[in-house]
Amino acid sequence: MLAGVNLTVAPGERVGLSAPSGRGKTTLCRLLAGYDQPDRGTVALDGRPLSAYKGACPVQMIWQHPEGAVDPLIPLGRTLAEGRPAEERLLAALDIAPAWLERYPAELSGGELQRICIARALGPQTCFLLCDEITAMLDPITQAQIWRFLLEETARRRLGLLVVSHSRPLLERVCTRIEHLPAPTR
């Protein structure tokens, strides 16, 4: 599926990734974030294989569907604490109300959950952030707020960003470089 794909993201760089549905964008993200292991080839960070990093992974992925990415049975405060951010500044910048943290995921909307997922992924160890269609199901205002925050935050911390989206205008607005996933050669 992803044979011959070669992708490099430098710190501070914002790379857009576009491809038709079913081409393997999400699979590539899962490989890059270490959720899956490639059959052949390597995923490396600073020359070291990603799997060699112990503890919190420096490459964090934000999922397309936040409803699935938070545990439905525990309050969101505990979910958020897993990423050890809890920086007041981060919560304020993402407009996360303190009251949300006592609630369960079923009591918040998709956009509110996605903000919490983003805050969770921005722990102190994070160097690269993979955004897999993270705003596809949000309203335009929330989309704009989230992307403005991400641009500021990546600039401040010199994070590398990989943005997966079907929306060409979004990629052109947000990214410094746009890559297209090639069709499988077979």
Partner: protein, 273 residues
């Protein structure tokens, strides 16, 4: 009048049903003397005010016998359901976490589920020497596979859930993963499974006692009462079978209701009900 929402109604039903079941379980030992008391001056009485469930051919009070039998059933059900559920938890967890254990446990589950249920209970009870120990062993050793499968499946599914994978990638320790994600998902399944094992255990105990492979005749078990009353049904003594049988069905329904309400109460999505 105050209107309860569904969650409060479930809570009230849960509390009342649990209290009734506990009371029945506790009154058994207190009524043991009365249940065994024979008095030929009052034999074969149909239901009346003094003896609401009637009396049998030895003049024994059927209400006391029924309660004592139910109490025995509930205590035996508790013991067997507890043993079964613990076995299911251990084996199900082991199967979900180690591939080698999975082969062995899955094979064992298929083996136990492949044999007709009632036959297996009878065989184990016979091999164990009948009586209380035999019935306990028979029911306990044959009821764990269903729950073990549920637990295994639940853990396997949980380990693939995005929030579980995300927590792993955030470097959360194993102990915390257990506490934050595994236990909150497993415990409700486990407790509901445990409570729902009760009615099965009670019915199977009664069945094999009825068939003569279970508890000895001197025990006032429901299965024994029903099996003895068969001979008197043709003589028109309907109360000997109707009331104990009905009471058994009622206890089973109460347990099933308790399990169902427990499931509803433990599920946070039901907060909105």
């Amino acid at each position: 009048m105050r209107v309860w929402n569904r969650r409060q109604a479930a809570l009230v039903f849960f509390a009342l049903a649990s209290a009734v079941l506990l009371a029945v379980a506790l009154c058994g030992p207190l009524l043991a003397g009365r249940a065994a008391e024979t008095d030929f001056s009052r034999k074969n009485l149909p239901p009346c005010l003094a003896y609401p469930f009637g009396t049998d051919w030895l003049g024994r009070d059927m209400l006391a016998r029924t309660l004592a039998g139910l109490s025995l059933s509930i205590r035996l059900g508790g013991l067997t359901a507890g043993v079964s559920a613990l076995a299911a938890l251990t084996l199900g967890t082991a199967a979900a976490l180690w591939r080698r254990a999975d082969c062995a446990v899955s094979w064992l589950i298929d083996l136990v589920m492949g044999i007709p249920h009632i036959l297996l209970v009878m065989l184990i009870a016979l091999a164990w020497g009948r009586g209380f120990a035999g019935v306990t062993a028979g029911v306990a050793l044959s009821h764990w596979p269903v729950l073990a499968r549920v637990i295994r499946g639940e853990i396997l599914q949980l380990r693939q859930a995005p929030y579980f994978l995300a927590a792993e990638k955030l470097g959360v320790s194993w102990g915390q993963m257990m506490r934050n994600h595994l236990l909150p998902h497993m415990l409700p399944q486990f407790f509901v499974g445990l409570v729902l094992l009760f009615p099965h255990a009670i019915l199977h105990e009664a069945s094999i006692t009825f068939l003569g492979f279970g508890l000895p005749p001197e025990q006032p078990a429901i299965g024994m009462i029903l099996s003895e009353s068969m001979g008197y049904l043709a003589a028109g003594r309907w109360w000997l079978a109707l009331f104990p049988g009905g009471a058994l069905v009622l206890v089973v329904l109460l347990f099933a209701g308790v399990g169902e309400r427990l499931r509803r109460l433990l599920d946070p999505a039901s907060i909105h009900e």
